[in-house]
């Protein structure tokens, strides 16, 4: 039989017995909620033999409390604050912590509200036999219940709610000690003369303080490393008002503590130096930057700071503040060299917000030093560092149980969060790609790193292919056949294709013949991909998503299924193929008399490689029509090129190397050589350019709003400043960058008679100063900005490689509509749709280029290794190669090895003298007898190259050291 009673509530003090608050409902309505509270006098304090409390038989706190603490010999209880449980649960849980605990209901509820896992730990703790805890329901005890009121100071409230008798603590009775990590709370307690300590202070007096101190969580005292981001509203408002600037964050590849953001408002990118200013941005994020006042502007550091060597002492478990602070601070004053020319200063700022994160899965290696060495074989969970392959990314901290198994593997890691208190972003393991340096793992990691979609084509996509498959042929010519409708029959023409060796996806072919009127008819025939890839089907969607075919050294990732790319669309010799032709009537001086575009059927007579075409052209014994046609094309191409150069086109250079593979199967690289340029390369190039320009004009006329064009923006003058300065100071050569024409002319003058490669080097460096070309929709930008800077053409597009570029497919469709061959699909009338597609294509294009380059780099590394092994077996020593210095740093040189197309850093640990103004670098050589050795930008040096694996991350790294003019190994 239970006792049922009615509780009485004092309505007079409703403020105590009623709680009132406002709550927002899911629909956004604000609702006032009133709750009752029944205050009672039978809430027990839990202390044994307490006279006042109705004792219950449950666990009780010992009467005397704990007596082993130094400060409280008479015995005491502790009353921990919420933040103690939130931050220092480990301490309280420890078996050394034996002081009886009084838990306030308020604390309990707040722990429960803040963190359920911690609340569950707390509950488990209360049930432990060795712990003595008592929950005091202070909210329900009539004397201790309080209400918070608006506008009332805590002191007033305390005075009002405090009972009339304040007990005088009798010395024989245990004290109650408030434990709190909140300094403010401690101050208040002191005012009321209540004994109050932080956990650390309290533990110092404990008998087992040493054991307990180890358990203290640093998190409690750890100050935030970064500042919080501004709210989204403030960011958008700031950007609109022009106070803040938005742009992509680019991490510096030389200095991990530096980054920059290109924004429209400034000619130069905004410099972000130091971790605090970079504020947790990761390369590629769209960030919002606040620019400092001009006095605080800085020049970028001229020093190479490598993350791995600088931070190798950081511990993954709990990053140690001090280690790195020293490194950074030591460096900062040194970089602030006062002699800096003021022009070199860049706008400097800090990141205040992030609009869009570029977080994805990154290919990483596990840093072996971050592993707990004693547990290399254990399966316990540990926190380790994952070092991304890309130097632009910060190390990622992750927790894993399989760390030992993942050592020496390439793994995928995604970033989950980056808290303001954490130096490194936190991530998690996604999957392992395979052993480092195994080709499969490297290839897949490359594709993942550059976000290249490489999955095989799905069934829905393959269903879009012609049902005949390999057997598909151009149907016999007949008037009512749909394929032949409006198609010209060009099968009798002497058309041939010229491509690199082993090219399978031939998308262009050419012909030329003399006309009776003395003019020349030249034709460019492009694979008619749009005949097979119809808009708005799965294949089209996939091609649009892939954007481009990606060429790696040993693999090609197709944009279109292989059946189309290498067979049905490929303009292979001796078979009839559908084509889209551009046919000009050119005067002998290569001026366009007439141009027409038509869908056609062709039958290529031969597929040449550049080399074959060249020899055939040069062989005077060959007098057949096909050879004549090539010669004719060649003469025209030379005139076209001359005309283009006269108009101010740039002859740019990029380091292109070719990898010789052992055999198709093993694909072990044997050697690397620079790509050779033949006349026939330029022949094809000129006609492709001409076709692209003619098509661009046509589609721009037909669809002024949505034409798919390509442009190359003129680079801002400031981009060239550094190169201009170096050239002027080192070689005394001026560089006129006022237009592409003047730039081309002055580049031609950059000649070092003793060093033919010097010109190429300058061209490479000039190319790096420029912006990259991009696709755009003609309706979205003003007509003045259509121009292509590098080609010096007012308008340009891509038409000639529809098998491997999606933009060309769009151009084909637009051109087909422009010549009234077929109506234009509705989506191509929509500017926003075209913009959206081109945005993807631009990105994919960029990524594909980088992936291709990275793949070459990897093979160069393999080739170097093979070469080193060979030379070692012959006893010839290390691989050495000539190189040019392209940049000097305070502690190293950036050199370019043109023969291998790679760049590398030569680092010096020894003290060197660095002259930033003259770009020279002096190595004092007192020991070896000779005088000081001075090295400057553009100097030719000999470096020895070796590929070494980073000890910690197993990451293959090209390591260079000087051989000439001075042997720098060991420096």
């Amino acid at each position: 039989m239970v006792e049922i009673t009615i509780r009485k509530r004092q309505r007079e003090d409703a403020e105590l017995t009623q709680r009132k608050f406002f709550k927002k409902t899911a629909r956004g309505k604000v609702v006032k909620v009133i709750r009752e509270r029944y205050l009672r006098d039978d809430v027990s304090c839990g202390i044994e033999k307490c006279r006042e409390c109705i004792s219950s038989p449950a666990l009780h706190l010992p009467f005397g409390g704990a007596v082993d603490h130094k400060l409280f010999p008479q015995g005491h209880f502790v009353l921990p604050d919420t933040n103690v449980f939130l931050a220092q649960m480990d301490v309280i849980e420890s078996s050394y912590f034996r002081t009886p605990i009084i838990l306030l209901q308020t604390v309990l509820e707040e722990v429960r509200h803040r963190s359920l896992p911690l609340f569950n730990r707390l509950k488990a703790l209360m049930k432990m036999d060795e712990k003595r805890t008592w929950i005091f329901y202070n909210e329900f005890r009539s004397e201790t219940a309080v209400v918070r009121e608006v506008g009332e100071t805590p002191n007033d409230r305390n005075d009002r709610a405090r009972p009339p008798i304040r007990g005088q603590p009798k010395p024989t009775l245990p004290t109650i000690v408030l434990l709190t990590e909140d300094a403010d709370n401690r101050r208040k307690a002191e005012k009321d003369s209540i004994p109050c300590y932080s956990v650390r202070q309290y533990l110092e007096g404990m008998p087992e303080s040493t054991q307990l101190m180890d358990l203290l969580s640093a998190a409690a005292g750890r100050p935030p490393l970064y500042s919080e981001y501004l709210p989204t509203g403030a960011l958008t408002a700031g950007v609109k008002a022009g106070q803040l600037h938005q742009g992509h964050f680019n991490a510096s590849q030389f200095n991990f503590l530096e980054g920059s953001v290109n924004v429209e408002a400034f000619g130069k990118p905004i410099l972000l130096s130091g971790r605090e200013n970079m504020n947790r941005a990761v390369h590629g994020d769209i960030v919002v930057v606040e620019v400092f006042s001009e006095q605080e502007w800085k020049a970028p550091t001229d020093e190479v700071v490598d993350q791995e060597s600088a931070l190798k002492n950081d511990d993954a478990e709990e990053s140690d503040e001090e280690g790195e602070r020293v490194v950074v601070e030591e460096k900062t004053p040194r970089t602030e060299v006062p002699s800096r020319a003021p022009t070199e200063k860049q706008p400097t700022g800090r990141i205040v917000g992030i609009v869009k994160r570029n977080w994805r899965a990154f290919v990483c290696h596990i840093d072996s030093t971050s592993l707990n060495s004693s547990t290399t074989t254990s399966l316990s969970q540990q926190t380790v560092f994952a070092t991304p392959v890309s130097r632009l990314l910060p190390r990622i901290r992750m927790r894993t149980r399989q760390a030992p198994a993942l050592l020496g593997q390439k793994i995928l890691v995604t970033i989950d969060k980056w808290d303001i208190t954490s130096r490194y972003p936190e991530g998690h393991f996604v999957r392992a790609l395979g052993k480092v340096e195994s080709k499969e793992a490297e290839q897949e990691s490359l594709l993942l790193e550059f976000d290249v979609p490489y999955r095989p084509f799905g069934k829905a996509i393959l269903d879009c292919l012609p049902t005949e498959g390999e057997q598909w042929v151009v149907p016999p010519k007949s008037a009512d056949d749909l394929t032949w409708r409006d198609r010209e029959d060009l099968r009798q023409l002497n058309i041939c294709s010229i491509d690199p060796p082993a090219c399978q996806d031939i998308d262009d072919a050419l012909h030329a013949r003399r006309l009776p009127n003395g003019n020349i008819e030249a034709g460019v025939h492009i694979a008619d991909v749009s005949h097979f890839v119809l808009p708005d089907n799965p294949m089209d969607a996939e091609a649009a998503a892939r954007g481009t075919t990606v060429y790696l050294v040993d693999k090609r990732i197709d944009m279109l299924p292989a059946l189309l790319g290498t067979n049905l669309c490929s303009l292979r010799p001796f078979v009839e193929r559908l084509a889209f032709s551009v046919i000009w009537e050119l005067t002998p001086e290569a001026n366009i008399a007439n141009v027409r575009f038509t869908k056609s059927v062709i039958a290529s007579k031969c597929a040449f490689t550049y080399e074959e075409a060249q020899t055939r052209k040069d062989d005077t014994h060959q007098q057949d029509e096909l050879t004549d046609s090539i010669r004719l094309l060649n003469t025209l191409a030379q005139k076209l090129k001359a005309g283009r150069m006269a108009a101010g086109a740039l002859n740019l250079a990029s380091p292109e190397v070719k990898i010789h593979l052992d055999s198709a199967e093993s694909s072990d690289p044997i050697d690397v050589e620079q790509k050779e340029q033949r006349e026939t390369n330029s022949l094809v190039e000129e006609f492709m350019l001409l076709a692209n320009i003619s098509v661009a004009q046509k589609i721009q006329e037909a669809f002024p709003q949505t034409a798919v064009l390509r442009r190359h923006m003129p680079p801002p003058k400031t981009n060239f400043e550094k190169l201009q300065d170096i050239l002027q100071r080192r070689r005394g050569i001026p560089l006129d960058v006022s237009s592409s024409g003047t730039l081309a002319a002055s580049l031609d003058k950059c000649i070092d008679p003793e060093e033919p490669a010097f010109n190429t080097l300058v061209r490479i460096m000039a190319t790096r100063c420029m912006l990259s070309a991009e696709y755009f929709c003609s309706g979205s930008v003003s007509k003045e900005t259509f121009g292509h800077y590098g080609l010096a053409s007012p308008i340009y597009t891509h038409f000639t490689s529809p098998i491997r570029r999606y933009a060309d497919v769009l151009v084909h469709r637009q051109l087909a509509a422009a010549i009234s061959y077929s109506p234009l699909h509705a989506s191509l009338h929509s500017k926003t749709h075209v913009e959206r597609v081109l945005e993807v294509v631009n990105r994919r294009h960029r990524m594909a280029q980088m992936a291709g380059r990275a793949s070459v780099e990897f093979y160069v590394g393999l080739a170097l290794k093979a070469r080193a092994e060979r030379s070692a077996s012959l006893g010839a020593g290390k691989v050495t190669e000539e190189a040019f210095v392209i940049r000097t740093f305070r502690n190293g040189l950036n050199v370019f090895v043109s023969k291998l197309g790679i760049e590398g850093l030569v680092m010096f640990k020894r003290e060197t003298r660095f002259d930033a103004d003259n770009y020279t670098f002096t190595i004092p050589c007192s020991g070896s007898g000779g005088g000081d050795v001075e090295i400057a930008v553009f100097d030719k040096v000999v470096v020895s190259i070796e590929v070494e694996k980073d000890k910690n991350t197993q990451r293959g790294k090209v390591k260079m050291s000087l051989v000439k003019p001075i042997d720098s190994s060991g420096m």
Binding site: T5, R7, K23, Y38, L79, L104, E110, M126, P163, A189
Partner: protein
Amino acid sequence: MRHTPSICGFAFAEWLVISLLYTDSVLTDEPAQSLRIEILNEGGFRSDGRRQYELREIAFDSSPQAGADGSARISHGLTEVLVSVFGPREARVRAQTLHDRAAIHVEVNIAPFSTGDRRRRGRGDKRVQELAAMIKATFEPVVQTGLYPRSQIDIFVHVLQQDGGVLPAAINATTVALINAGVPLADYVCAITGGVHAAAPMLDLTALEESDLPHVTVASMPRSGRLTLVSMETRLHVDRFEEILRLAGEAGTVIHTEMHAVVRQRTKGLLDGISTGLRASKPAEDAMVEDE
């Protein structure tokens, strides 16, 4: 009334101050805190400080409405209901007249301001109609309708504030209002809600508890021990049902004591009026209340 704070053997004031100080710093966002409220915590306290078998405060105000034949206002915790009774009087609608007894007509009106989210419930609202039907069904066997053929008794229920237990509050208030109106009843009708949290039964649920727990509303006649209403809107395990039903019956007797005291007090006031020479207008009223 209020208990003067006493000192538990030793420095009670010490931690009193600490907890005061403490509450101030942590109770900053109460609404958020309420999201994770514990229905019954380890110390055996419910979210409002009551224990399992403790009922909320119940207070009656007899005849707050002079125009009615009898009326009562109950405040049960934060729930507040006003009931006015008219009759027995001549039936207004001929078609509904019963020739052997009086017809009971119940009308419920829930004030839009009675809950936090202002919501208007018209007379046609199903929930309101159901509430009216339940009150009518509860009282039909209790009111001695046979004494008043061809007449009707009107019961108007106004829900002024809701915090759980609206139906029991309405029934309890109706009982008192009917007594005040002098309508002969076979017994008091005392209603209460009982619910179960995990395996722990509890009585008199608040709105917060009602929305979380399976519960049953029971109206009992304490003297005879009979039940006139058992209403369940949630699923309650059959093993728990018996226990809760028994508990609710016992709680009925507790409420009965409370009600009876109120009725006695009022009657006493009326009797005092008579004895001081003021002839009360309705002497019959008192006679009708049967004492135990």
